[in-house]
């Protein structure tokens, strides 16, 4: 194993994952600890930007709630009116006030119901639209971020960003915010009504909110700490869970079940403890706030009753005040629930904001250019590496300085030992990365100036890992060119030798790859990946170890297809099995990020260089 430098054992990897080494550098620790840097206040900015487009509807929703609360809070006022006015009026045979009370109450009740409906529906619309927007942003942003980001920010984290973290925002919006607005509005209404009914009683009620506020702040502080611990604990549980389920075969084969149970139990217990802590914090808050509220009620009733006894307060007013007081303090528990969801949503939003603050290291061009019309009738285009330098961000250069011209229509095989820079070359050409210096040109146009659709008409890469998306086999092939007809899809499959096995599947091309009987072997998946690439019909095709799981007849079929398919196309073929080299017009041997041999296969095989050695070793391995 030739390692380019001592600190970077294997910088480049056969199957297309660059090894972004993670030594103890600060930048990498951020990834490891799942805290991405985000500018200060990014969370608030994110929340604001999510709500900004909904401003009108938020206003409407608030207005609906204002009306609804007005209708609801009118009740005790009507009680006071009934006791203090309607009763004496009735005794004077005046039914007017009573009718007014009855009609008023009926109207308020119906209005409260109808407005409640309107409010809940409108609020749900706002919150669902915010979530839709946020989900879309996370998804879109994650897709726009470059491959090197994905290699560092494991899939589990992205999944939990777009599921559990979005979910906690949903709770905040659905339960928390509605709750908060309702509570605040009813507080304002009730406080105002109490003050209007009787300044003194109202003032006492308002004053009682000072200790309540203190309690709330204390709870918020303490719960915040517990919540952060809890969210870390659940994240650890999730990672362990996902890892076990995705690696179930080795888990079983190596009898890891019991050891895993033990590991999981530790993580699970930690979460259980923090979860219990969080629930107990809530219990403390509830007791405290209830104590304050009930003491205040007792005090207000004492004073009010005293004054009614004095004759300085009407009985009806006291009755209304007592009824209002109950309503005033009722939602305190719910305020706790809001704080709950706020805490966890804040933690989640912070993580989401960190993700969204990542800028794609391979950005789309601001002013995209178009590729010039093809020079000949052949689809191939010329590729030029012009003074390209490239190093992974953890230091060390993989390509120190690299110049290469591949004429249009040429098939180039790249060979070399692990770590020589072959895959890096392929990824720069596919624009998975941008060079740190220099340019990669396609028919004279910098790849960085091409919009994605134009770029992918130009360059397509088939890698070793052949992932299938859920859906049918035909749909998986059609990823190469979504508008392709069934004939074209089958044509591509036939050309690559995949037709026979596909036709033998239970539903042929319409077999769902995730459903019954849809098991597809690694070699077959690579054939599907090839068919996909054929269908895409690019000017430049990159094959990075694309045949490693195929058996020899499969590989041979692919190569037969390639000789026709690649005709007139520019192709870069990376392989550690030299069989692929046979179809190439030109062979490049790479070592330490540079080209050490360059020639036709026949020339190099006949020579005495590294390629001749490799070729002999390979011939021997074929026995």
């Amino acid at each position: 194993m030739t390692a380019p430098t001592a600190t970077a054992p294997e910088r480049e990897q056969p199957e297309g994952e660059p090894a972004p080494e993670k030594p103890a550098l600060a930048a990498d620790d951020l990834f490891d600890r799942d805290v991405l840097p985000s500018p200060p206040g990014a969370t608030a900015v994110l929340l604001r930007s999510l709500l900004a487009p909904m401003r009108a509807r938020v206003a409407l929703t608030t207005f609906l709630l204002l009306l609804q609360q007005a209708a609801v809070q009118a009740g005790p006022l009507l009680v006071a009116y009934a006791i203090d006015r309607a009763v004496p009026a009735l005794r004077d045979d005046d039914h007017g006030p009573l009718v007014a009370v009855g009609a008023g109450y009926l109207l308020c009740s119906l209005a409260a119901g109808a407005l409640q409906y309107a409010f809940v529906a409108a609020a749900a619309r706002v919150s669902q639209d915010v979530l839709l927007d946020l989900r879309g942003r996370i998804f879109g942003h994650a897709q726009a971020l470059s491959v090197d980001f994905h290699e560092r920010y494991t899939s589990g984290r992205l999944i939990s960003r777009s599921t559990t973290d979005v979910e906690s925002l949903r709770e905040l919006l659905d339960e928390g915010l509605q709750e908060l607005v309702t509570v605040v509005l009813s507080f304002v209404y009730i406080a105002a009504l109490l003050l209007w009914l009787d300044l003194g009683l109202g003032a006492v009620a308002v004053a009682s909110f000072v200790p309540l506020y203190g309690l709330m702040r204390m709870y918020q502080r303490r719960a915040g700490r517990v919540y952060r611990q809890r969210s870390t604990a659940i994240a650890a549980v999730i990672v362990k869970f996902v890892e076990t389920m995705n690696g179930i075969r080795p888990v079983r084969a190596f009898r890891r079940e019991d050891a895993n149970d033990a590991d999981f139990a530790v993580l699970n217990r930690r979460h259980e403890r923090t979860n219990g802590d969080a629930l107990l914090e809530m219990a403390r808050y509830v007791v405290g706030s209830r104590l304050v509220a009930n003491t205040a009620v007792a005090g207000i009733v004492l004073w009010g009753a005293y004054r009614v006894a004095d004759g300085t307060l009407a009985l009806g007013v006291l009755a209304a005040a007592v009824l209002y007081l109950r309503r005033l303090y009722d939602p305190i528990d719910r305020l706790g629930m809001f704080l709950n969801s706020y805490q966890s949503a804040a933690a989640s939003l912070e993580k989401i904001a960190g993700l969204l603050a990542q800028t794609p290291s391979v950005p789309e061009p601001a002013a995209p250019k178009e590729l010039p019309a093809p020079a000949s009738e052949h689809p191939g285009r010329e590729v030029v590496f012009d003074g390209v330098r490239f190093g992974y961000r953890t230091g060390g250069e993989v390509l120190p300085r690299f110049d290469l011209t591949i004429p249009a229509g040429q098939t180039v095989a790249v060979v070399g030992s692990t770590g020589a820079g072959k895959s890096t070359l392929a990824k720069l050409l596919a624009r998975f990365y941008d060079p740190s210096d220099g340019r990669v040109l396609l028919d004279g146009t910098d790849l960085r100036d091409l919009a994605v659709p134009e770029l992918r008409r130009g360059v397509v890469m088939v890698t070793q890992e052949a992932f299938l998306f859920s859906g049918t086999v035909a749909e998986n092939i059609a990823i190469g060119r979504p508008e392709a007809t069934r004939e074209e899809i089958e044509g591509a499959a036939k050309a690559i030798g995949a037709h026979d096995f596909i036709a033998a599947l239970p539903d042929g091309y319409d077999t769902d790859v995730r459903k019954r009987g849809g098991r597809i072997s690694a070699g077959q998946r690579q054939l599907v990946a090839f068919a996909r690439a054929l269908l895409a019909d690019p000017a430049v095709l990159i094959l990075d170890e694309a045949t490693s799981s195929l058996d020899i007849p499969g590989e041979r079929a692919v190569q037969r297809a390639m000789t026709t398919v690649l005709k007139g196309r520019t192709a870069v073929v990376i392989a550690h099995r030299l069989s692929t080299v046979e179809i190439a017009d030109r062979v490049l041997v790479m070592e330490h990020g540079g080209i050490v041999e360059d020639g036709t296969p026949t020339e190099l095989t006949a020579g005495t260089g590294r390629f001749a050695d490799l070729h002999r070793a390979w011939r021997d391995s074929l026995a």
Partner: protein
Amino acid sequence: MSTTPALAKASTEERSTVRALLRLWPYVRPVRARLATAACVAIVASCVGLVIPLVLKWMVDGPVADRDPAGVWLGALYLLLLGLVEALLFGLRRWLVARPLAGVEAGMRADLYRHLQRLPVAFHDRWASGQLLSRGTTDLMLLRMFLAFPLTFLLVNGVTILVGVGIMLVQDWTLGLVILGPAIPVMITCAVFEKKYSAVARRAQDQVGDLTTVVEESVLGIRIIKGFGRHRSQARAFHELSHTLRGTELRKARLLAAIWAVIVALPEVAIGAALVVGTVQVADGSLSAGTLVAFLSTALALRWPVESIGFLLAMSQEAATATDRYFEVMDAEVEEPGGPDEPAAVSGGGPRGPAVRGAAAPTRAAPAARLPAAAAGGGLRFEGVRFRYPDAPPDSPPLLDRVDLHIRPGESMALVGATGSGKTTLTALVPRLHEVTAGRITLDGEDIAALPREELRSMVAVAFEEPTLFSATVGENVLMGAGGDAGEEELGRALAVAQADFAHALPQGTGTQVGEQGLSLSGGQRQRLALARAVVGTPRFLVLDDPLSALDVHTEAAVEAALRQVLADTTALIVAHRPSTVLLADRVALLSGGRISAVGTHQQLLRTSAEYAHLMSGPAAHEGPEGSREGDGR
């Protein structure tokens, strides 16, 4: 698109919220005393709240009317005491259940994890891990919340409402009846709502699962999406799904809004009616003002219990759905540990292999005596093995049919076959990751179906085509393949065999964290570590699935040289695609049409089997670049 296979089943069965929730009992049982106490405490607290209006009535009709300051003080004192009791009782309730319920959630999660680890591999083939994860997290959280609130408060609020109504009826039965008026319409609405909501809630939960799957795939397949510039169409698919989800959520919200509207409006109308009737009675003098205040105060105190029924039912509904989803997985049958007591479940099914010469096979004493090489039934033997994936249609042709193969003790056998011929599947049968449909496999004469799985898997070491590393150090990952007593020495030796010495050069050497949360290694590096893991325990039986596919020619040659020594005295089955790998083995078996069609040395098979020669002849090995079109020119 749906990744929940059991969905169809769940929707055809008559579902009942109560029946679903009753299944939680085994988990609730250990904490039932706490929960029951908490419920009683909550009922008492709630009833204390109902006494408060009575104190008010007493104050208004007594001390206030009589202008008796001392009485007012006494009343206020009562109020204060009741308030304190109420607050403390509610706190006590939460304190009682906090730790136990966190425990129930954790217990259910641990059970799920334990169960999933032991479900057949075929189960995991069908279920996306996102779906499993959402059961282990969101669904369990919903269940904990259900036990904490709806379960208790449906009872508490029910009792509170009954007591409250009783108090009102006692105070004035006409007013009480007026208040009771809307009870029946509200109940009917709730029942109708429950049905509709249940269906929508389930749909929403499944759509979330599907959305998770799209996210997962878009992350795992990111290179393909980027490579073909398809992130827009991927985003479109995501948008469609998330729009559908939004639609479902909005329907859910509208149902909820409707129930809220009914639950808010109808009782208010009744209170209004009671107010009018009460006012007339007070004017008549047939009712005291205090009674009316107390009455309305009680009615208002009942507002929250009544209103909350809507969302408590909704939460119960969601909890029932979560329970269904949880038990969907828990009901799947786990693998039996296997062993002598287990009837050899499969051997009766199909035609026994032609040779049941296992008569002389050493029986249970075998594991003690290492390498009973001489025994006729020794080594690894497949007899009439037939296999069809359990989820394949029963009338479909089996993937493997009548596989007969004998690998002698200490012998290594290469397994060659065309793409998709079932090689990987055959290797999965040996450690019983899948169960044979008929026939049997014996290790040194012992039927693997009669061995405890634990023991079987300790005898057989496997390296998979997909080299998975776990979040642990390099050393731990490799030593997983050995018993507990293996140490540095074994680790070093295994790394040397697999040419994985790069591990020593990693930042923290073999103590470097790898896997999901650690250093990401290349495919070739992972493959070599997986190989080291397979050989570290010097297993008696070794199953290698294309173990060198990701290695370059030089590394491959070095691994082969080292591996040859290991294979010298190990019984091994090696899936091979290439002549170089085949040459590791003593003999080769050709898997074709679901059976072993030829066995022999590489050279023999090259001569006698056209199919083998076709599979093994290097493409254009003897020709120039242009001639490769016609293959090997045979």
